[in-house]
């Protein structure tokens, strides 16, 4: 009944026979942060062929970087990943420091680690309950958005903005923690922990959720290196990868945590890995607050940032986000403007090449859980 495959593994279809219909699952999706459309060829309820179309959010970032000075690239570059902007700030600041040879004081590195983990927590608080929204349970998302607002309040107190902070700059950070910040953050963490117990009862012990999500969207183990899969999607297949442990940056080598692995590699396993990531993040935040020094410089001396000529060179910086691995490739040529900055997010491979293969022979109502489990975020595909 299923058509044969050609040399690339995609089925050969005769579109003129009246067996197949082409439908578009169009740009606005529930649950995906951004616009991406899928062109599906279906027969009854099963998908025969899928093709992703991106480009709805293309702003030409890499061309704009060539027209802006290094410090002016920061407000532009953080809008690449809209839910979690701090990792891009960190990557760009780290790359500029490596090219220009600036050393960052330790207190600034501890504060940067705190900010990155808080950003990861607020993304997971929206993603983990929101996963059930794809199969119709929208209650968890409404609760989760409230607890996310508590963390955004802490961000507003520290940096002045809710979503886009511009707090991490080349040389360090913009300021120290306010008084009493750590106590308020500890209060919020206690509330988040008791909330996650509710989510365990609502979603992860739910029979309908388990039946809908177990056994679909399985990624075999030999797809991980040929497709460049990183982050929680690879960890759900039992592959040990975590940039914080493999290439330790900031002071992650002084904290104690481990890989969160699962072995079935279906949609439910990926959701479980994210649930475990929330526990790891809360634990890391407590460790950071305990081990942070009390005083120190928060910024190193940098030359005048408006007339800063960065010496020639090229470098690669990477960072672990809640979705996978973010990599920046920066080339400097000795002038005030960067020669080339190339950003690559994890959805570049997860949502274009892997998704087209995963959707073959899947049900139409399974498309949404599979996309959300791969955490597709279209702005980082097309920048």
């Amino acid at each position: 009944m299923f058509p044969e495959a050609d040399e690339q593994g995609m089925p050969v279809l005769d579109l003129d026979s009246q067996k197949y219909i082409k439908i578009w699952q169009g740009p606005n999706h529930p649950g995906v942060t951004g616009n991406m459309s899928l062109e599906l060829t279906i027969s009854g309820d099963e998908i025969m062929h899928a093709k992703t179309h991106v480009g709805y959010l293309h702003r030409g970032f890499e061309k704009l970087f060539e027209r802006r000075r290094y410090i002016q690239c920061f407000p532009t570059c953080i809008r690449m990943c809209v839910p979690e902007p701090d990792i891009n700030e960190y990557n760009l600041a780290r790359g500029t420091e490596l090219l220009a040879g600036i050393d960052v004081p330790p207190m600034a590195d501890w504060i940067r680690m705190l900010v990155l983990e808080m950003a990861r927590l607020q993304v997971l608080l929206r993603m983990v309950p929101g996963q059930a929204g794809t199969i119709g349970l929208g209650l968890g998302a409404q609760w989760g958005l409230y607890y996310r607002e508590l963390i955004l309040d802490r961000f507003e107190e520290l940096t002045g903005g809710r979503i886009y902070h511009m707090y991490i700059l080349p040389g360090g950070v913009r300021g120290l923690l306010p008084d009493g910040f750590k106590d308020r953050l500890e209060d919020n963490l206690k509330k988040v922990e008791s909330f996650m117990k509710d989510i365990d009862r609502l979603i992860y012990s739910n029979a309908v959720f388990k039946k809908r999500t177990k056994g679909i969207g399985i990624i075999p183990n030999d797809w991980i290196e040929p497709y460049g899969i990183t982050g929680p999607v690879a960890r759900a297949a039992g592959y040990q990868t975590d940039i914080r442990l493999d290439y330790p940056y900031l002071f992650y080598n002084q904290l104690e945590f481990d890989y969160n692995l699962e072995h079935e590699s279906d949609v439910f396993a990926r959701f479980r890995v994210r649930r475990k990531d929330v526990d790891t993040t809360v634990d890391l935040l407590r460790q950071i607050m305990a081990k942070m020094p009390d005083k120190g410089d928060f910024k190193a001396e940098t030359p005048n940032v408006l007339h800063w000529k960065v010496p020639k060179g090229e470098t690669i910086v990477r960072c672990e986000s809640s979705r996978g691995e973010y990599t920046f490739y920066m080339v400097a040529d000795g002038s005030m403007y960067p020669r080339r900055i190339n950003l690559r997010g994890p959805s570049y491979t997860h949502a274009v090449a892997v998704l087209e293969k995963l959707l073959i022979n899947a049900n139409i109502s399974d498309v949404s859980p599979i996309m959300v489990s791969l955490a597709t975020c279209p702005p980082e595909i097309e920048r």
């Binding site: 030409g60 040929p226 497709y227 460049g228 690669i316 990477r318 190339n342």
Partner: protein
């Protein structure tokens, strides 16, 4: 990592070896020797992950630099390979048989820079732009500010408040 570089130098003509970070080295290579070297790195030396595959436009020297960055997950090393091709008739051999997601990178390079990769699946499909009829936009001779002012109606009244320009105009109005 230095033994690896010596081992590769004995077999392939690499030059311009620069270590940008501990565990991260960039080398340059001739375009025709690229596929044998990458295949040997992937099968014999454990560089099984393709991290970044992009191009840089050096318009002053009339060439494109294509950079392939490979990663060895067990030894935790990065190796970046720079290849230079001509700007006017830009083609390069495709590596889609080694990594499946290289086809996406090649599709984007064809659209944004105009570099052709013959044989790559789907390399002519438009990826990010729709209905584009100008030169490939990432090339350095494409002026994006001029294109935006002519096509999209800019709102008048945008002035610069840069103090350096203001002082320069006040003190030296004739320059």
């Amino acid at each position: 990592m230095n033994e690896l570089i010596d081992h590769i130098k004995a077999r392939f003509p690499i030059y311009d070896v620069i270590e940008s970070q501990p565990g991260q080295i960039f080398v340059s290579l001739e375009a025709s020797k690229l596929i044998p070297m990458i295949t040997s790195l992937k099968t014999n030396h454990g560089f099984t992950v393709l991290v970044i595959f992009t191009a840089v436009d050096w318009i002053e020297d009339d060439k494109f630099q294509i950079t392939y960055v490979l990663n060895n997950p067990k030894e935790k090393q990065d190796l970046g390979i720079r290849v230079f091709i001509h700007r006017d008739d830009a083609t390069m051999e495709s590596i889609h048989h080694l990594w499946k997601h290289a086809a996406t990178f090649q599709r984007e390079l064809k659209e944004m820079f105009g570099i052709d990769f013959p044989g790559s699946p789907g390399v002519d499909d438009p990826f990010l732009l729709e209905g584009w009829d100008n030169i490939p936009p990432m090339r350095r001779d494409f002026d994006t500010k001029k294109y935006s002012e002519e096509t999209y109606f800019p709102r008048p009244g945008r002035e610069t408040n840069d103090p350096a320009t203001f002082m320069k105009q006040t003190l030296y109005p004739d320059d």
